[in-house]
């Protein structure tokens, strides 16, 4: 079974990934909604920016995070001053890196499900007395819920596997930023730790596979499973 250290690594990974996807959720949903429904100049540019972490070398993303969210970076200073959150060499920084890397996947899943919502249903809700905001909350959000959940699960899986941007941005600090992949990388540097690598790798495979299966099931449900609720 796992040693105490390995348990800590697993729990840290889960904490970092959960914080990453939950923190990114409002931004991801907002961006997904804008890209699905908005008509504005620069939409293609915004779309490109959202997807950038998907194609950029992770080490570049990590370096850009360092510039922006480091102790002397503009965003880093703002967070420290107004919210008292610092990212450098802390698990919060690992969560931020994971969130940025997971964002494109989350936005894609959510955008597809928002685009699949029949807008005429919102019009019907308006004629029944619902304000635009209420129609959004009672029609658009519940109908795109499977996509929102799929985005969360997919983002979570991506966060669990995050390595390059994290190690560049917040380094490799046991108990703070040494998540599963970074722990595996560290163990590989130490001769005779094959068993540790194997155990941690197995956990990674199980977590990722579980998340992928979950998101696949959610996607299926959204594409017609609702008919199975009644007869």
């Amino acid at each position: 079974m796992l040693s105490a250290d390995e348990w800590d690594i697993l729990l840290l990974s889960l904490k970092v990934s959960a914080a990453a996807v939950l923190g990114a959720l409002p931004l991801a949903f907002g961006l997904a909604w804008l890209l699905a429904r908005g008509r504005f100049p620069g939409k293609i540019l915004l779309d490109g920016l959202v997807h950038l972490p998907l194609v950029l070398p992770p080490v570049v993303t990590g370096w850009l995070l360092l510039l922006a969210f480091g102790n002397n970076g503009p965003a880093g200073r703002w967070f420290a001053e107004w919210l008292g959150i610092s990212f450098m060499f802390r698990w919060t920084g690992a969560a931020l890196a994971a969130a940025v890397m997971a964002l494109p996947l989350m936005v894609r899943a959510m955008r597809l499900s928002i685009e699949a919502v029949d807008r005429r249903l919102e019009g019907a809700a308006r004629t029944l007395g619902a304000s635009a905001w209420r129609a959004f909350l009672t029609i658009t959000v519940p109908l795109s819920l499977p996509g929102i959940l799929a985005g969360l699960v997919l983002g979570f899986a991506r966060s669990i596997g995050e390595f390059g941007a994290t190690i560049t941005f917040v380094s490799n600090i046991p108990g703070e930023t040494r998540t599963l992949p970074i722990a595996i990388y560290s163990a590989l540097q130490v001769p005779g730790s094959e068993a540790v690598v194997q155990r941690l790798a197995l956990i990674s495979v199980l977590l990722s596979l579980g998340a992928l299966l979950a998101s696949e099931m959610l996607a299926r449900r959204s594409s017609g499973g609702r008919a199975n609720h009644g007869f």
């Binding site: 019009g123 004629t127 619902a130 304000s131 609702r226």
Partner: protein, 210 residues
Amino acid sequence: MAFDVDVRRRMGDRQIEARFRAGPGLTALFGPSGAGKTSILAMVAGLLRPDAGRICVDGDLLFDGAVGIDLPPERRKLGYVFQDARLFPHRRVRANLLYGHRLVDSADRWMTLEDAIAFLGIGHLLDRWPRTLSGGEAQRVAIGRALLRGPRFLLMDEPLSSLDTARREEVMTVIERIRDELRLPILYVSHDRTEVDRLATTVIPLGSKP
């Protein structure tokens, strides 16, 4: 006047125009497909903004382009029955029926859920999901949902067009009873002559204009 409508709107390369006044009863907008009938209903509902004009229903001014009045759909106190019923797929029949009922001031309600169920004969459908309903059942539920919202008038967009003959008869009877027993002004869109002859108090012919 129940309906006093004068609207214009450019849709792509088409100009949609309508100007009519009609008394109580059922007013049919009658014309070929593509004459812009649905767009006119959407303008009366507030779902589509006219470029110019004026919409007054039962003495309430809903839209006046000249003075910048444009009530949002939720404040126009109308019931809209769509061609395809347009029930909310994630809510059972009961929750569909009550969606607007719960949003409206209790003073504006004039029908209870029990009344609507008895009026439309839909008591056995309450726990069903919309996807499992036949076309006629879905359309009766849609009518119930619109009535329970406590509307001052109804808009109906070809509510019979997706139904077979037996179901048409069933829904047509319901519409006649809304017209005669509930005495609700209805603005009704159709391209079917027999339907209009049977239901309409007033017929407004619409042709497509270039």
